[in-house]
Amino acid sequence: MSKTCQESTFQQLFIELSERLRNYLYYHCGNGETAEDIMQDAFIKLWEHCKKVPPEKAKAFLYRVGHNLFLDIVKHKKVVQKFEAIRTERPGPDTPQFQIEQQEFEERLWKVVSNMTEKNRVVFLMNRLDGMTYAQIADTLDIGVKAVEKRMQKALEAIRTLYPKF
């Protein structure tokens, strides 16, 4: 039986991997609660298959299972929300006018992000919000670094559409 079946190892894997996995799923589905549910389900699946999945394979297993669970949900059209604003008012010395402009910009930016292809968006946000390097992303998604760079370029092109003169 692999070490994954030991509770201490399993817990360690959860501590290490759960947050980024949840974020990864959020970048796919745009809904934080759904992302957390899928993440938990993926860990339950890992436990069920712990004998066949040694700890070093756990990450790949979780991302694969998580992605499949996500696709399953999409097929049944259970996801509806897309990257809703979490905070609408932010404290600070900014004038209301400035705040409104900020919010408008945020709206426009996230619209662009939502419209990116899923693959490009996920890579872009893993880098921007989880601070992962291309090598780390490549390793996590089990793709080449070149592929990550390519998706990043595409994401940047999309971002540029925010500025007509670029």
């Binding site: 938990q40 436990w47 069920e48 712990c50 390097t133």
Partner: protein, 302 residues
């Protein structure tokens, strides 16, 4: 703007932390960098908050424990026949889909105040069964009601009451549901509830209720506390046989009556005097009643 923003290749290198210190400094002093700060801030505004790993882990672990540990499963598979293994699988599936559930019921005459596991409260009217079922996986509080109950719901995850006729969903509010085999009625006292009844959805706000008789639009009410919790049953244009069903329930008697489903009754009775109750109802509806014995009443047209 275009002259301030470096090309994608440069940006891509920056994002991967590949710039050398000199390039980095130059970039950070440029206007394009300011622009990127704004982008970064707007992105972060919709990032998820950090995960409370410990509590989410224990929730996940609880769900897993309900499935069973893999080691004990293996032992059983070795020693037991495959038929029993199949039974274990069934049990496993059962535990998986019903992580925790509890059931309460009241006999005739009695009412029961209960504290639900999530901190919400319910009062069950006589002859009512309620089961509570919370699922860790989808964060829902699911209840099944056969009878009548008043709920004071603690704010939180969706709170869903299923009855034979319809479904009521709320987030946190006070409302009454009657979902007996012959009757369905919901009224909302505080907050907002969504009712799904006969394939239609109704949104009820405080002071609104729905009743099968005036199906398409909610009625108004001013109830603050359901009268039955104070020992009074109240009826408005209710089929008379349902009124007698309620009398049976509140006084633990058996009532024989002719078919009264086409007649409607509006009024009230208190749960403490059967004789008086029967006098009032029968008087109003032009019926007569006789006690066959202490527990049996016969009602006839006058």
């Amino acid at each position: 703007m275009s002259d301030q923003m470096p090309n994608n290749q440069f940006l891509s290198r920056w994002m991967n932390g590949e710039l050398d210190p000199e390039e980095q400094q130059q970039w950070e002093n440029s206007e394009g960098y300011q622009q990127w700060q704004k982008i970064q801030e707007a992105l972060q505004n919709r990032a998820l908050p950090s995960l409370d790993k410990e509590s989410v882990y224990s929730a996940t672990k609880t769900a897993i424990d309900n499935i069973k540990s893999p080691s004990s499963f293996v032992r059983k598979r070795i020693y037991w026949t495959s038929g029993i293994a199949a039974a274990i699988l069934l049990a496993l599936a059962f535990f998986f889909f019903s992580p925790s559930s509890q059931t309460w019921s009241t006999p005739v005459v009695e009412q029961l105040n209960i504290a639900l596991p999530d901190g919400s409260e319910a009062i069950l009217n006589a002859e009512t069964q309620l089961s509570y079922h919370s699922s860790l996986l989808n964060n829902k509080r699911v209840l099944k009601l056969d009878g009548e109950a008043f709920f004071d719901v603690k704010t939180g995850d969706p709170f869903i009451v299923n009855t034979a006729h319809g479904t009521v969903e709320v987030l946190g509010t006070r409302f009454n549901v009657k979902g007996r085999k012959e009757a369905f009625e919901v009224y909302c006292i505080e907050g907002k509830v969504a009712v799904n009844y006969r394939g239609k959805e109704y949104i009820l706000t405080a002071g609104q209720g729905i009743h099968p008789l005036d199906q398409d639009k909610p009625y108004r009410h001013t109830t603050q506390t359901p009268s039955w919790t104070q020992g009074i049953s109240l009826f408005q244009n209710t089929p008379l046989d349902q009124v007698f069903d309620e009398v049976e329930r509140q006084f633990d008697v058996n009532i024989k009556h002719p078919d009264l489903s086409n007649r409607r009754y509006s009024g009230r009775f208190s749960h403490d005097n059967l004789d008086y109750t029967l006098t009032i109802i029968c008087g109003a509806m032009n019926l007569s009643y006789n006690f066959e014995d202490e527990k049996h009443v016969i009602i006839e047209d006058k």
